[in-house]
């Protein structure tokens, strides 16, 4: 085991880590080691290139779809912010 000082840790995230470690009855160090292992396995997972995506030809009238997401999901933006 090593003793480390870590700078610039997000306060909210660290608070949650401490709380979760307490709930699980383990030390913060153990919880952090486990979290880092999970993160490393996620980041090191082999991934396909974005260029290998199966694409879709799309349909008529969908050429502006990427710009209409908010309108489709939430209705047209009113622009009123109060």
């Amino acid at each position: 085991m090593v003793q480390v000082t870590i700078k610039d840790v997000d306060e909210g995230t660290f608070r949650e880590l401490k709380a979760e470690a307490a709930r699980e009855g383990i030390s913060v160090g153990k919880a952090l080691s486990w979290a880092v292992k999970v993160w490393l396995s996620e980041m090191q997972k082999p991934r396909l290139s974005l260029l290998s995506w199966k694409t879709f030809k799309g349909g008529k009238g969908t050429q502006y779809l990427s710009e209409e997401i908010d309108d489709i999901l939430y209705g047209e933006k009113s622009g009123n912010i109060s």
């Binding site: 840790v9 995230t13 949650e16 880092v36 779809l65 990427s66 997401i69």
Partner: protein, 135 residues
Amino acid sequence: MIFCMVKRVATFLDANFLIALYSEQDIHHKNAVELSQHLQHPFTSDDVVDEAISVTLRKFGKKQAIEILDNITSSLPVFMCDKSAFEAGAIIFHTTPHNFSFTDCMVLAVLSVTGTHDIATFDKEFKKTNVTVVD
């Protein structure tokens, strides 16, 4: 999933970028393909995946929604928004002067929580913030 601070250069992919990359008819498709060749450590979030799949499902159908979901999960890390990110997103939603949806605010929260500066998006509203828009 735990997703720690991103110290290396990473790029967050917004829903409109994912849609543009998937749909060949989209006006931003070629641009999205071009950008995809240069993006470093791209990732996205569960909220954004939700948006991309919901729009694809509504406009193209279930088969295509599954296809874009599989594209995303096989090629990108997906940040799962936790309590900390949610609270940050809520604060941004309360205080932003910009015309953002709550999901947009969650995107800004994820960028903040992960220490990411770059976002690939075609939403011009993000250019009014202090993040770097890659388009």
